[in-house]
C-alpha cells in the first residue's frame, strides 16, 4: 500500500532523512522507532506532503505522491495525527471532527446550508468510538491533555483514511491513558480495517501492538521486519544500547 524507497531530505546540507526504506501492506500496524532526532517525524512530514523530499520515491496505492500538496494526499486516503497537540482551538470538539468529515465529503465550498444540522450522526459515531461523545459540546481547548490527544486522532479518523499515520499518539500521557489509547488504536485497526503507521518512544507500546517495525538511526533505515527479528537484530541493539529490549 505504501512504499518508501531511498528517501532523502536535506535541510541546507543537514540530512534529516538519509535513505529511509519502508513498505506497509494493507491492514498492517507498522511502527517506526529510533532514537531522538532519527528522522521519524520528518519521514511522516514527507509522506503527508508537508515537506518535499530531496531524493527518493514515495508510492501510495501504486501512485507517486512525492510532489503532491498535503490536502491532495489527504484526499487520496492518508490522514495523520500530530506529535504535539494540533487541533482547532476555537471550535467545539464536535466541530473539530465535523470539519474533517465535511472536507472528506468535499462539502467545504457549500456556502448556503446551515452546518449545525449536517453530518451530526457521522460525527457522533466517531466521537463515540473514541469516547469523546459526552464532551462534544465543549470547546476543544477545555479538554484534558490526554483527551486532546484523542481528539487529535478523532480528527484524523474524520477523513476516513485508508492509511492512518500517528505521530507519537501517547506522548506525554499518563500510564493509564497510554494503556487505553493503545487499546483504542488496536480496536480501530480491527473495526475500521485501518492500516496504521505510527511512531512511538515507549518500546513496550511498540512491541505490544506493532505487527512490523522499522528502525531508523540518523535518518537511515537500519532494520525492517517482524518484532521478533527486530528484537534479535544486532544493529538495533547497538542503536538502543542501554535500553531494555
Amino acid at each position: 500500500m505504501l512504499k518508501v524507497k531511498k528517501l532523502v531530505k536535506s535541510f541546507d546540507g543537514f540530512l534529516a532523512v538519509n535513505g529511509a526504506e519502508l513498505t506497509v501492506e494493507k491492514g498492517q500496524i507498522v511502527a517506526v522507532i529510533g532514537p531522538n532526532g532519527a528522522g521519524k517525524t520528518t519521514l511522516f512530514n514527507l509522506i503527508t506532503g508537508h515537506l518535499v523530499p530531496s531524493e527518493g520515491t514515495i508510492e501510495f496505492k501504486e501512485r507517486d505522491i512525492k510532489a503532491l500538496s498535503p490536502h491532495k494526499i489527504c484526499h487520496m486516503g492518508i490522514s495523520r495525527s500530530f506529535q504535539l497537540i494540533n487541533i482547532f482551538p476555537k471550535l467545539t470538539v464536535f466541530e473539530n471532527v465535523q470539519v474533517s468529515i465535511l472536507s472528506r465529503k468535499r462539502k467545504i465550498l457549500n456556502m448556503f446550508s446551515p452546518t449545525n444540522k449536517m453530518l451530526v450522526e457521522e460525527t457522533y459515531r466517531i466521537l463515540e468510538k473514541v469516547g469523546l461523545d459526552d464532551k462534544a459540546q465543549l470547546l476543544s481547548t477545555s479538554l484534558s491533555y490526554g483527551d486532546q490527544k484523542i481528539l487529535e486522532m478523532a480528527i484524523a479518523l474524520g477523513n476516513e483514511p485508508e492509511l492512518l499515520l500517528l505521530d507519537e499518539p501517547t506522548a506525554g500521557m499518563s500510564p493509564e491513558e497510554t494503556a487505553s489509547t493503545i487499546k483504542l488504536v488496536k480496536e480501530l485497526a480491527r473495526s475500521e480495517g485501518l492500516t496504521i503507521l505510527f511512531t512511538e518512544h515507549d518500546l513496550d507500546v511498540v512491541f505490544g501492538i506493532a505487527e512490523k517495525i522499522m528502525v531508523m538511526q540518523q535518518g537511515k533505515t537500519i532494520a525492517q521486519g517482524l518484532p521478533a527479528d527486530i528484537r534479535a537484530n544486532k544493529l538495533v541493539q547497538a542503536a538502543y544500547l542501554g535500553e531494555e529490549f
Binding site: 503527508t48 506532503g49 508537508h50 500538496s69 498535503p70 490536502h71 491532495k72 489527504c74 484526499h75 490522514s79 495523520r80 500530530f82 494540533n86 487541533i87 482547532f88 482551538p89 476555537k90 471550535l91 467545539t92 464536535f94 466541530e95 465535523q98 470539519v99 474533517s100 465535511l102 472536507s103 472528506r104 462539502k107 467545504i108 465550498l109 457549500n110 456556502m111 448556503f112 446550508s113 446551515p114 452546518t115 449545525n116 444540522k117 449536517m118 451530526v120 450522526e121 457522533y124 463515540e128 461523545d133 462534544a136 459540546q137 480528527i155 484524523a156 474524520g158 477523513n159
Partner: protein
C-alpha cells in the same frame, strides 16, 4: 438533561429572533420621529457596520490580517460613481456592478496576498491598497484625482436622506443575513478551521490558500456594497475613502466590538461613529479619547465588548438527536 438544554437554546434562539425583529421595526419607523441629522448618522452607521462586518469575514473568521479593507469600500464607491456618471448602464445595474468591481480588485490583491502569512500578508494588503489609492488620487482624467467626483447621478427617488436610509437598512439587513448564512455554512466552519490551524487543515484535505482567497473576495464584495450605499447617501466620492487611515478605523471598530462575534463589528462601528460625532463637538482631541479607549480595551477586554458578553452567556453546538439509540454502546 439534554432535552432541557435543547429547549433552553431553542428559547434563546426565538428570543434573539424577536429582538432582531423588534429592532428592525423600530429602525423602520425612525425617520418619522428622529431629526434628519440623526437619520443621516444612522445611515452612516449602517453602511460602516456592513463594511466592518465584511472586514471581519477575513479578520475574525478567516484569520487573515487585511490592513487595508477600505480600498474595496473606496473601489465600490468609485465604481458606482463612474458607472452612474460615465456609462450608459441603467442605475440599478451600476449599483450591482460596483461591488463586483470591488470583488475583482479583491481577487487581484488576494491572489498575491494569500501566499503570505500574518504580518507579511497585512503589509502586502497595505502596500497594494495604497497603490490603488495612489492611482485614484493621481488619475485626474478618470477619477478626478484629489478633487474626487461630485454631483453623482444617483436616481431621483434615492436623493433624500430617508430614501438613502431605507436603502441602507434593507441592504444592510439582507447582506448581514447572507454573511451570517455563509459563516455558518460548511464553508464558514472550514474557514474558521483554517483560521485556527493551517497545518492541520492541510492534513484534513483543505486547500487553505484557495479557501482564504474566496473569503477575501467575499469580504471585498460586501465592502463594495457598503461603498455603493455611501454613494447613494453622499452623492460624492473622494480619495480619502480609500486612504489607509480609514482601514485603521475599521480595525478599531472590529476589535472594540469583538472579532470572534458576528455582531461585534456592527456594535463597534456604531460606538466609534457616535463617539466621534459627540466627542467631536466637545473637543477636537477626541482621537485622544479613542486612543485611551483602545488601550483599555486591549488590556482588559481583548475579546471585545460582545466577545465578553458572549463569554458570559454560554454558547452551544448541536445536540444529538436520538441519543438513546446509542446508549448501550
Amino acid at each position: 438533561m439534554s432535552t432541557l438544554f435543547a429547549r433552553f437554546t431553542e428559547a434563546k434562539k426565538i428570543l434573539l429572533l424577536l429582538l432582531i425583529l423588534a429592532a428592525l421595526l423600530v429602525m423602520f419607523f425612525i425617520p418619522t420621529f428622529l431629526s434628519k441629522y440623526s437619520v443621516y448618522l444612522l445611515t452612516v452607521i449602517l453602511f460602516t457596520a456592513l463594511l466592518a462586518t465584511s472586514l471581519n469575514i477575513s479578520l475574525g473568521y478567516g484569520g487573515m490580517l487585511p490592513l487595508h479593507q477600505a480600498v474595496f469600500f473606496g473601489v465600490g464607491a468609485y465604481a458606482a460613481a463612474l458607472l452612474l456618471n460615465k456609462s450608459p448602464l441603467p442605475p440599478w445595474l451600476s449599483f450591482l456592478a460596483a461591488p463586483l468591481v470591488a470583488a475583482g480588485v479583491a481577487l487581484v490583491i488576494g491572489t498575491v496576498c494569500v501566499r503570505l502569512r500574518g504580518l507579511y500578508f497585512g503589509m502586502m494588503t497595505l502596500a497594494m491598497g495604497q497603490l490603488v489609492w495612489a492611482i485614484v488620487y493621481r488619475w485626474y482624467e478618470f477619477t478626478g484625482g484629489d478633487d474626487g467626483i461630485h454631483g453623482i447621478a444617483v436616481p431621483q427617488v434615492l436623493r433624500s436622506i430617508p430614501a438613502a436610509y431605507y436603502t441602507a437598512l434593507i441592504v444592510f439587513s439582507v447582506c448581514l443575513l447572507i454573511i451570517y448564512i455563509i459563516l455558518n455554512s460548511p464553508f464558514g466552519i472550514a474557514l474558521q478551521a483554517v483560521r485556527d490551524n493551517h497545518q492541520r487543515c492541510e492534513s484534513i484535505g483543505i486547500n487553505i490558500r484557495h479557501h482564504q482567497l474566496i473569503a477575501f473576495v467575499l469580504a471585498g464584495f460586501f465592502s463594495g456594497v457598503a461603498g455603493v450605499l455611501f454613494v447613494i447617501l453622499e452623492r460624492s466620492v473622494s480619495p480619502s475613502l480609500l486612504f489607509w487611515t480609514k482601514s485603521a478605523e475599521l480595525l478599531i471598530m472590529v476589535l472594540l466590538g469583538g472579532m470572534f462575534t458576528f455582531l461585534g463589528p456592527t456594535f463597534g462601528a456604531a460606538v466609534i461613529i457616535v463617539l466621534g460625532v459627540f466627542l467631536g463637538v466637545i473637543t477636537e482631541y477626541w482621537l485622544l479619547v479613542l486612543g485611551t479607549v483602545l488601550v483599555l480595551l486591549i488590556l482588559f477586554l481583548p475579546q471585545g465588548v460582545l466577545g465578553f458578553v458572549k463569554e458570559k452567556i454560554s454558547s452551544s453546538a448541536p445536540e444529538r438527536k436520538g441519543v438513546d439509540k446509542y446508549a448501550q454502546g
